[in-house]
Amino acid sequence: MLHFSPWKTAAIGALCLLGVIFALPNVLPQSVLNSYPSWFPARTIVLGLDLQGGSQLLLEVDGEALRKSRAVGLQEEARRVMREARIGTTGIDLNGMTVAVTLRDPSDLAKAQERLRTLAQPIGASAFAPGTGQLDLEVGQRNANVATATLTDQGLQARVRQAVDQSLEVIRRRVDQLGTVEPSIQRQGADRVLVQVPGLADPQRLKDILGQTAKLEFRLVDPNFPIGQPPSGPLPAGSELMYEGAKDDNPGIPVVVERRVIVSGEDLTDAQPGFDQNNRQPIVSFKFNTRGAQAFAQVTRENVGRPFAIVLDDKVISAPRINEPITGGSGQISGNFTVESANDLAVLLRAGALPAPLNVVEERTVGPGLGQDSITAGTRATWVAAIFVIVFMFATYGVFGFFANIALIVHVVFIFALMSLLGATLTLPGIAGIVLTIGTAVDSNVLIYERIREEFRAGRTMVSAIESGFKHAFAVIVDSNSTMAIAALILFLLGSGPVRGFAVVFLLGILTTVITAVTMTRLMIALWYRRTRPTTMPF
């Protein structure tokens, strides 16, 4: 038991070293980290907003509004297809999620149903998931002369999910406009988005820009200026210079587009990624509402062969060529899409008009002063707690206490190392968690030492007391830490934000304390015993 093979000793040493290496970036200045070779771990713990200062908004996609707008859209489309098919109707009514088409002539029923079916869309079809093949619309009949189309719950739920995806993208683009450092935008639950912006002291502006709809426009490209060439000389009054595919460093391809907007984002009802039926290339199909469809049909009919630009926030997303007049209120954009970029574009096109209003359901802002104060106080408390415990352990257990203290320091180093490795967030309750585990970490050692002492007093020799102490204490260490871990795990699963940060630290702390107290102190005691061969208990 007290025998440690050299490789085991080396493994423990290596583990400590790894811990130090991963924890180190947290205390090194940024200039040193920059000089690290690229393969060297330089990740640091992320500070939570409560320590960094900043704003966080929890946004909720308004599912009710989304359902309503989808239903109203369906009603409008139903009207359009009936008109196009020249089916006489006396009324097209919306009742809940059902559109009822009352026909003048009951013999048109089958034809009307046929037309309504064309409005159905596959559920969950995206470039990444081919979908279940189910449609989001059920077509039926109420009377001999009333055809109905009902939006299915499944389809609507899929739509809410999609809406959150779309919102994430819209929100990200919008938050980027704030020019803040490292904003974080995450999906949360079924219909929510968490936006965190470090350093933002007043979230009002953030809320303002997230409340606006994005400006999406379809415009013609000015035929006098070829795409990709920066214009020499002044532009005509009706045109302006934009760039396609602009990114941080890359200014993008210059495109001169007409100022006249053919159709804007408000007239877009949908856009979906898909595949061209002929050549299986990724494409994006889109749909306009009635007004958009008419305007687009007219302009494309007159401009076959010319490119038009899809402009979002004054940036050209792409400038496809009009291959044929697009009269059906829908069309597809083909180009050099990958599956992913087609999906992206579809998301962007849909994002043009926010799929549904976003409501702020929770909002937390911490000023930079408070964050800094919390860090200072937390650091001080951690040091004081460590000193209290270290002095106390040494005063109680002497040299064994010294070993436990080394294990304690390694334990704290491991927490930092693991958190850096996992990219976990340190929050104020997280700091409290570290302080708390400093107190509880030595518990395993206390259990072992007390047991050793007991065994020794019962008449065992030194070495056998140590061995049996470790052996007997192990089961209770596992049991007592497991109960703590269960509580911490539940807190992790149910908590959010800062509270979750506490749970993470506490869980990691339980894990590392078992490792350091059991393995590391045993090694130290074994080495100590081999060297000194004591016959009496040092405590």
Binding site: L58, A201, K207, V360, E362, E363, R364, T365, G367, G369, L370, D373, S374, A377, R380, A381, T382, V384, A385, A386, V389, F392, M393, A395, T396, Y397, G398, P429, I431, A432, V435, L436, I438, G439, T440, V442, D443, V446, L447, E450, R453, R457, V476, D479, S480, S482, T483, M484, A485, I486, A487, A488, I490, L491, L494, G495, V499, F502, A503, F539
Partner: protein, 323 residues
């Protein structure tokens, strides 16, 4: 160097006997807490009620509470709570959820910001909507219930059901007393408080499990000593550890209370209280409870009967001598 020894070796304290005091005491406190909970109620924070919390610090270092209060009331935003806390002129202002929805809440916050920001540094602004607060109540309650159930299952799996039940009764006792702490101190009860309660659940079980682990070991070792003696032996032999761990944990929490800063102080206070309560309940509630929940075998039942008879004989003996 002489080392510290917090608890004497080979102690033979008869802890379990104290149940004649500890049980009524704990029962009384528990009932009081429940009554207080139902009549007075907890001071719920905005996590659970919804609304807006603003924390600010006077730039002059001296908060003018009455002017803050009158300004806050002038917004006509319903019930407003204004409190001073910590040192150096820190003030918290709590508004309820406004009837006009998000827009009304935003307008209120903007009004408050512009009113106070000349004289105060706005350090924290939190708004929780009614739906989120409802969910937080749900997940908080669920968390506490779930932790108790899953720990019961774990302990049942690892120990006997009786022991598991004893441990969980002790834990419930600790939760109730912790809630009592919130009721009496009027400390704000929020999501961090749930974290504190769950940590106390973990710590409480940790304390109890160590004693019960010893009970289990002794059960196998001594087949026929009376239950009370067995339990006293379990407590005595683990007592030095219990005291040590309670001390180190309390020491680090004390550091947090003294130096952790105002934002974490509430949490630290509750945890410190919890550690004391958990230690008490492990010794004086959960373990004596086993007498009634039974760790009996037939041999132990015989031993118990014998011990009882001897105790009776011992009681009557002095009387005879006096006579």
């Amino acid at each position: 160097m002489r080392l510290i020894r917090l608890f004497p070796d080979d102690s033979k304290f008869r802890f379990v006997r104290w149940r004649v005091l500890s049980f009524p005491f704990s029962a009384f406190i528990t009932v009081t807490t429940v009554v207080l909970f139902l009549t007075v109620g907890l001071n719920f924070g905005i996590d659970f009620t919804g609304g807006t919390l603003m924390e600010m610090q006077a730039k002059s270092g001296q908060a003018d509470l009455s002017s803050v209060r009158s300004a806050a009331h002038s917004f006509e935003a319903g019930e407003v709570e204004v409190q001073e806390f910590g040192q150096g002129g820190q003030v918290s202002v709590r508004f309820r959820t406004q009837p006009g929805g998000q827009a009304a809440q935003d307008a209120l916050v903007q009004k408050a910001r512009s009113t106070f920001q000349n004289d105060y540094e706005i350090r924290r602004v939190e708004t929780v909507g009614p739906r989120v607060s409802g969910e937080l109540v749900q997940s908080g309650t669920l968390g506490v219930v779930l932790s108790i159930v899953s720990v019961l299952v774990y302990l049942w799996f690892r120990f006997e059901f009786n022991l598991a039940l004893g441990a969980v009764i002790g834990t419930l006792h600790d939760i109730v007393l912790t809630v009592g702490f919130f009721l009496i101190t009027r400390e704000e009860f929020n999501m961090t408080s749930i974290a504190a309660i769950l940590t106390i659940v973990g710590y409480s079980l940790n304390e109890t499990v160590v004693v019960f682990d010893r009970t289990r070991e002794l059960l196998r070792k001594y087949k026929n000593i009376p239950t009370e003696e067995l339990l006293d032996l379990s407590i005595n032999s683990t007592m030095s550890r219990t005291v040590m761990t309670a001390t180190t944990t309390a020491l680090s929490l004390l550091a947090l209370v003294l130096f952790g800063g105002q934002a974490i102080q509430g949490f630290a206070n509750v945890m410190l209280f919890g550690v004391l309560i958990c230690t008490y309940s492990a010794i004086f509630v959960s373990t004596p409870m086993l007498i009634y929940l039974g760790v009996k075998t037939s041999a132990r039942a015989a031993a118990d009967a014998k011990a009882e008879a001897e105790a009776k004989a011992a009681e009557s003996k002095p009387a005879q001598v006096r006579a």
